[in-house]
């Protein structure tokens, strides 16, 4: 193994400003999108009732609407879902009473046959606010816990660079969900927290290697630091790519074959894992290089 850590094939470090600009651009786009379009919150966070009707064949949305309106219910929206377009999703802005749900089930079964199956979820506004709050707390507490652990095992600079990359990933997933107005439901939070765990996981493996290499080389200049990072990323690159590939294979399989109820969940995972792989190489490591380089220059002068 080369001791100088100058033996690497790709230069990841030199163009770091470009990655920062790209990410900054995406973040600004996200802020604009969130301010103008907001998130398409599912009833998990908004309150109301969501009813999913498995009809079992292709249907007309207007027919379903009429069937439902006949019993005096006014759905806020009706959308078609399912891999065979055989599922109707009805959203009601207010929580329905269980008798109303029972009446609705009877009505659609009368219209489309007894094989029709209904899935229902109802959330009261008070509960949905609590859910959203506890989700936010979870992410903040998890971040703090991870910072503490990483600071103890590594150093503060690593910890903060990791958290910056992590928040970057989470924010970009939220951004894309806002831009494309994909519905945000409860499993979305599980997805976000998985992304948190995974992007940290990814960062730590590269940082671990940087720390390892720093022990072996005497860094005298900013260039030396950059070399070490380039060398370390190069060393772990095969692992980074292969790992994200295998996890993406699993998530894609879940997305394509896993059924309707986890589709948004897996979509969030796929986006988040991709950003996670990107950010551990192009954001977290680069923030660390810039920071370390800055401290280094200050000390030398």
């Amino acid at each position: 193994m080369s001791d100088k850590c100058t033996d690497y094939r790709f230069d990841f470090v030199t163009h770091r400003k470009k990655y920062f600009i790209l990410s900054a651009f995406l973040i600004v786009a996200g802020i604009i999108s969130l301010c103008t379009m907001n998130l398409n919150l599912g009833i998990d966070f908004k309150s109301g009732t969501r009813i999913q009707v498995q009809i079992g064949k292709v249907f007309n949305e207007d027919d379903v609407k009429q069937t439902v309106e006949k019993i005096g219910l006014k759905p806020g929206s009706i959308t078609t879902a399912g891999s065979k377009n055989d599922m109707a999703v009805l959203q009601f802005p207010e929580p329905l009473h269980k008798d109303q749900v029972a009446a609705l089930t009877k009505a659609v079964q009368a219209a489309y046959g007894n094989h029709v199956d209904v899935q229902e979820s109802m959330v009261n506004p008070m509960i949905s606010r609590e859910l959203a709050r506890s989700a936010l707390y979870s992410i903040l507490i998890a971040s703090v816990g991870i910072v503490i652990y990483t600071t103890i095992r590594f150093e503060f600079r690593f910890a903060l660079s990791s958290i910056a990359a992590l928040l970057h990933n989470v924010f970009l997933v939220i951004t894309l969900f806002s831009l494309f107005q994909i519905e945000v439901d409860l499993p979305f939070i599980a997805a976000i927290l998985t992304i948190v765990g995974y992007s940290i996981h990814d960062n730590i493996i590269i940082f671990d290697r940087i720390r390892d290499n720093l022990k072996r080389v005497k860094v005298k200049t900013v260039q030396d630091v950059e070399h070490v990072v380039n060398y370390s990323i190069g060393q772990t690159l095969a692992r980074s790519i292969n790992t994200v590939l295998t996890v993406l294979i699993c998530s894609l399989a879940l997305y394509i074959f896993g059924g309707e109820s986890i589709r948004n969940f897996t979509l969030a995972l796929i986006i988040g894992l991709t950003f996670g792989a990107y950010s551990s190489i192009f954001i977290a490591s680069q923030i660390w290089v810039s920071w370390r380089g800055y401290d280094f220059k200050r000390k030398c002068m």
């Binding site: 899935q119 506890s134 409860l186 730590i204 671990d208 294979i249 399989a253």
Partner: protein, 411 residues
């Protein structure tokens, strides 16, 4: 020279793992408790408030309500209810695999203000006068008729009522619905009464359950509910399992093509990982939910990652000119710390999820934590052991077996 003993041991272990999984795998998989999203059923979160303003919702009241609900559900013969007190004033009821959801939901959700009234509608006694689970549906041992027996808390009060109304009918109301009427035949001094003339024992038990529920001095309001039809649940299970299998198979192919011999070992340890995880989930009595399947598949990704980290390290050591055995030693030693650090952070995330999450997310968190622990056992310890057997057997002494480029060695 090939050491056949080591190679034989390796093959034997692999064979044993395969036989064990093939023989018992389906049986274990079938024993898994499925969550309501995978088998149909419903989950309701109730907010509990007292019937009259004088009362407060106390811990005691909540746990009484919980017990009473449990009895009510059991009396209805519904399997595996999960009833938990949450926070200061909430109770979560989960019922999986219920065929007649509407009936069950009506029965459970009934706030049940039970009253005993005379023909003019005057309230004589209330549900709270009934002893806790004082109503029972039984077969009369002499007449073989289904009856409901009642036990009142205050024998004297009941004696007074029966004395005053003897010979008259007394109606039992749940809220404002009359459920049944019984004629008071005689003065009852001991607080024990019975309602005759039930259709069958099933009906008698149901009535008793309603009466017992009426003992609860609380109102329950549904604040969150989710229900899944049985067919939809089954479909979700099938597609989830199918997706998991396809994903896992693709990962197997990738590992074997890219890492060759170690890749094959990774696949075997992955099979052991999946098997152990299902077994552990069963032993813990954990319920498998849809997010749980997702965590499961994600755990496969993490387990594969541990293998990848180790194999990549090993390749590097090979390139630096080490022998196969010392490359394995150095590779697994150096990769272990990295894997541990990375997994501890994931566990921190999962623990936070478990602590703050609602039930579905909790299932996800439990599966994630379990999968990380199991993957340390199989993908780190197991993989290392099998790989060392393979390396020591001297049967794989070419870089090509490790997916390494031969020309780079001893550079």
């Amino acid at each position: 020279m090939i050491k056949w003993g080591k190679l034989g041991a390796l093959c034997l272990i692999v064979l044993m793992v395969v036989i064990l999984v093939v023989m018992t795998g389906t049986k274990i998989a079938k024993q898994t408790t499925l969550g309501l999203d995978l088998r149909g059923g419903f989950e309701i979160l109730y907010e509990v408030s007292p019937l009259d303003a004088k009362q407060n919702v106390t811990k005691q009241l909540l746990s009484d309500t919980e017990k009473a609900l449990d009895k009510r559900v059991n009396a209805l013969g519904m399997a595996e209810p999960s009833i938990q007190v949450e926070g200061d004033n909430r109770i979560r009821v989960q019922l999986a695999g219920v065929t007649d959801q509407e009936r069950a939901r009506n029965l459970i959700g009934k706030p049940a203000h039970l009253t005993f009234r005379d023909m003019q509608g005057n309230v004589l006694m209330e549900g709270r006068d009934l002893a806790e689970s004082g109503a029972q549906g039984v077969l009369d041992s002499q007449t073989q008729q289904a009856v409901v027996t009642l036990q009142f808390k205050d024998a004297k009060k009941f004696a007074d009522v029966t004395q005053k109304y003897v010979g008259q009918p007394m109606a039992i109301f749940l809220d404002d619905q009359p459920i049944t009427t019984a004629i008071i035949k005689e003065i009852i001094p001991n607080g024990l009464a019975r309602i005759d003339g039930q259709e069958d024992i099933q009906k008698a038990k149901e009535l008793a359950a309603i009466l017992n529920a009426g003992v609860l001095p609380v109102k329950m309001k549904e604040v969150f509910s989710t229900s899944v039809g049985a067919k939809l649940g089954q479909e979700a299970l099938q597609s989830g399992v199918k997706a998991g299998m396809i994903g896992t198979l693709l990962v197997f192919v990738f590992m074997m093509v890219y890492y060759r011999m170690p890749g094959v070992i990774a696949c075997i340890t992955l099979v052991a990982y999946i098997y152990l995880l299902i077994l552990l989930q069963n032993l813990m009595g954990a319920t498998l939910t849809l997010p749980g399947i997702a965590a499961f598949v994600l755990g496969i990704g993490m387990a594969v990652d541990a293998n990848i980290i180790m194999y990549e390290r090993m390749k590097e050591e090979l390139y630096s000119g080490k022998s196969y055995l010392s490359a394995l030693r150095a590779g697994s030693k150096r990769s272990l710390r990295t894997i541990l650090d990375a997994n501890v952070t994931s566990v921190i995330g999962a623990l936070v999820l478990f602590y703050f999450g609602s039930s579905a997310i909790r299932g996800f968190a439990v599966t994630l934590i379990l999968s990380i622990v199991v993957s340390l056992l199989t993908a780190v310890a197991g993989s290392r052991f099998l790989l060392s057997l393979a390396v020591r057997s001297n049967a794989f002494n070419k870089p090509v077996y490790y997916g390494a480029r031969g020309r780079d060695q001893h550079e």
